[in-house]
Symmetry: C2
Subunit: 457 residues, 2 copies
């Protein structure tokens, strides 16, 4: 491994240059005006695999943004690994709150600041860097299949059918997913559970057009009021989601799992510092780490209605709408949750207000097997680098691909990534700690070694 580590060390500056190039491309998947940049980003990535002399590199069109498939086939592989990543990023708003420009990657102290730095361009590139380090030094007896999408941040609407139609092409012993984090700079961790997602847009309509609030105020329903009343009713006063039947299928947390989660180092003070709130809040009867990873939640992600410009306009608006997402845990299915939401609206929305509910994206929750040689290999690789065993966590975020890979390709995933909890992903000032990233590249390289070794036993 020394030669490989040396390669990573002596090529680190080249790698940073490459990372800056990658981060400069505004590959925002949700905004149509960035469609060209998305293509430019996918093509940039394609060239990188060609430079690694991969056996096969393909840009695959979908109904949305293109997928990249790249394959390295050695003479006698011991294992096949499906490596997942995404090259798209979130929008940058509110742009005024960024201290650096989101698509002009800037290194300050130990971190690189840019949209996508942590989620997940750095992770993806560091993993590819580990592959490069191997290929430059030793034969790698692993068959690698990279599947990199450009639509993760919009709920991966097209990858599922690609998995269904390409089972053979994508067959592997397990999947490595680099869209993951590490608990703290010196506390290695493995995420073994992810929440699912059901992301909705709800629109209410009252009067047929905007009215003068003086002439009509107090005589008809205001759709903003009704939207607010509905949102207020979506939680009870104990912080529980109040949609009918919402918790019906939720698997209770076992004592064993509560114990495992309680071993994860966690500081309320740090959580407050990261978020900037003076106190935490959530469902009664659970710890913060349980709430975030093992309990479902509902958040309004956006709301708009009426006059929102500068100053005053005395309008009684015709419409109001909200983006509302729910994070799900086993065994909640997005389909059941949509049903539950529709029932709630049916029961609670007054008849003179019409409502329209659209499901933007959804993902099933996933819990991964802790007892495979792949998981053990990841554990060992982390322990070697950090000098201590990793902790096992359940994450609050959603990575729909993990459940789909399990359902469709029938293989388990190992999540291994190096984003930190305070990297501001999805928010202004997103960044990646480069010291941690370098250790990450070493872990990825070592993970291959562990896989080869464990498979040989």
């Amino acid at each position: 491994m020394d030669k490989i580590y040396n390669y990573l060390e002596s090529n680190w500056n080249n790698f940073l240059g490459r990372l800056k190039e990658f981060l400069s491309i505004p590959s925002i998947s949700t905004l149509p005006e960035y469609k060209k940049d998305i293509y430019r980003c996918a093509e940039w990535l394609k060239r990188k695999f060609e430079e690694l002399n991969f056996t096969k590199v393909e840009l695959i069109e979908t109904r949305g943004h293109p997928l990249l498939f790249a394959e390295y086939i050695p003479p006698s592989p011991k294992l096949t690994v499906l490596i997942y990543g995404h090259y798209d990023v979130q929008p940058t708003d509110p742009e005024s709150e960024w201290k650096t420009k989101p698509f002009e990657p800037t290194i300050i102290l130990d971190s690189i600041y840019a949209r996508g730095a942590s989620d997940m361009k750095s992770q993806l590139l560091a993993q590819m860097f580990a592959t490069e380090a191997w290929l430059a030094n030793e034969p790698l007896p692993l068959h690698l299949k990279y599947l990199i999408e450009g639509e993760e941040e919009i709920g991966s609407p097209n990858i599922r059918s690609f998995l269904e139609n390409n089972k053979e092409k994508l067959s592997a012993d397990f999947a490595l997913n680099c869209d993951a984090g590490i608990h703290a700079p010196d506390i290695p961790s493995i995420t073994y559970g992810l929440r699912g997602l059901a992301y909705f847009e709800l629109e209410l309509k009252g009067p047929k057009q905007d009215l003068h609030s003086g002439l009509y105020g107090g005589t008809i329903r205001n759709p903003i009021h009704v939207l607010c009343e509905l949102i207020a009713k979506m939680h009870d006063d104990k912080g529980r989601v109040a949609l009918p039947g919402f918790y019906d299928k939720v698997l209770p947390l076992s004592e064993e799992e509560r114990k495992l989660l309680s071993q994860v180092p966690f500081s309320e003070e740090e959580w407050k510092n990261i978020t900037g709130v003076s106190q935490l809040y959530g469902e009664e009867g659970y710890t913060t780490l349980e709430r975030v990873g093992a309990r479902p939640s509902l958040d309004v992600n956006g709301i708009i209605g009426g006059f929102t410009g500068e100053g005053a306009k005395t309008v009684l608006p015709s419409k109001a709408s909200a983006k509302i997402s729910m994070r799900l845990v086993p065994n909640q299915a997005p389909e059941d949750i949509e049903e539950s939401f529709r029932q709630f609206l049916q029961e609670e929305c007054p008849p003179e207000i019409t409502w329209k509910l659209e499901l933007h994206s959804s993902a099933p929750p996933a819990v991964m097997n802790l007892n495979t040689i792949y998981m053990k290999s990841a554990e060992n690789a982390l322990e070697k680098e950090f000098g201590r065993k990793p902790v096992f966590k359940r994450e609050g975020g959603s990575v729909p691909i993990v459940a789909w890979i399990k359902q469709i390709l029938c293989i388990d995933t190992v999540m291994l990534g190096f984003a930190l909890p305070d990297d501001c992903i999805h928010g202004p000032g997103e960044h990646q700690n480069l010291k941690v990233l370098k250790r990450g590249a070493r872990v990825y390289a070592n993970f291959y070694q562990e896989l080869v070794k464990n498979r040989s036993i």
Copy 2:
């Protein structure tokens, strides 16, 4: 009067051309980018008074948009009338819902469509047209003082101090306010009561920046949730405003006044047609006309928070804000209402969410004296034109100047205008019925006649 009526008739097309010019100027007072147009509009109006050979015409600078003062002094006036109007208009959003362009006045059937058509450029010009018709034909023994502002739609922030500093200049026997409506095309009406206003902007702040809703959702307060909960608590389930002490100073409606209001022709079906809602809603125990004119109300005029672009973004937002206005009735003072609102927020907002409340504009409520010779003159002028006595109404809108003129100049106002309830003022498709407007110009001309006659008795 025949010569005057003939003048109005034979010059009607010229008048319409002039009205179109006036309506073409986008004098939107709330949006800074229209500042030049506001000036252009004030100057256009100044020229019109100069063309009428007024004794004095002045454009007066304020901290905001300019005021126009114009004075006509006959040799031996019987009365002095202060005529109030405003030349500014509301913004045009949502622009997509207009069928014609808001600043390209378009006549369709009997109406002219444009922003400001009904509120109140047509009213103001029709009243000036009546003055012109008099001056072209007969000596007018009335001293006229026009005071026309450019900030009515933003709450008249500068006219109050102008009144205070110019009591002598503005002294008059009474004020005529043309910023008013008529009940129906064939039902003349006089508005004798106006609601007051307190217009606020409320901003809530939770986490120090936008966070990933998966990683943090369910563990800290979401400011959109809190804003919605607060808004939901602002009314009880009987449609009453639930701020502490909100109704404390509200004068109860007398039986006599309830009787007067019950005589105003009113159709629930028509109200539903105008607004496009399937059923009406409001404070229990009051009729719709009582609710709109004689009872206070609270409306959220706008709300915004989090991600409101296209598609999905899984954000737990840092901020959320709402524009909230309350319509007040005698004797509610905007200052007391602000106090009541602050107390509510103090009590109801959870401690980890910080709130900021700004008062954008305010106006006291006003009820006018029904027993003056000025009011009688208006009644007679309406009866002559429409062949029936006017009904007396209390309007839900706010015209702060009415109360200020009473408080500062110690004179009563008569409201006389010809906007119809379904003219879509402040909304898309604002228009003015031109047949009604022509009758209005005749009423204004006749009103002068009645004033001269009644004063001579």
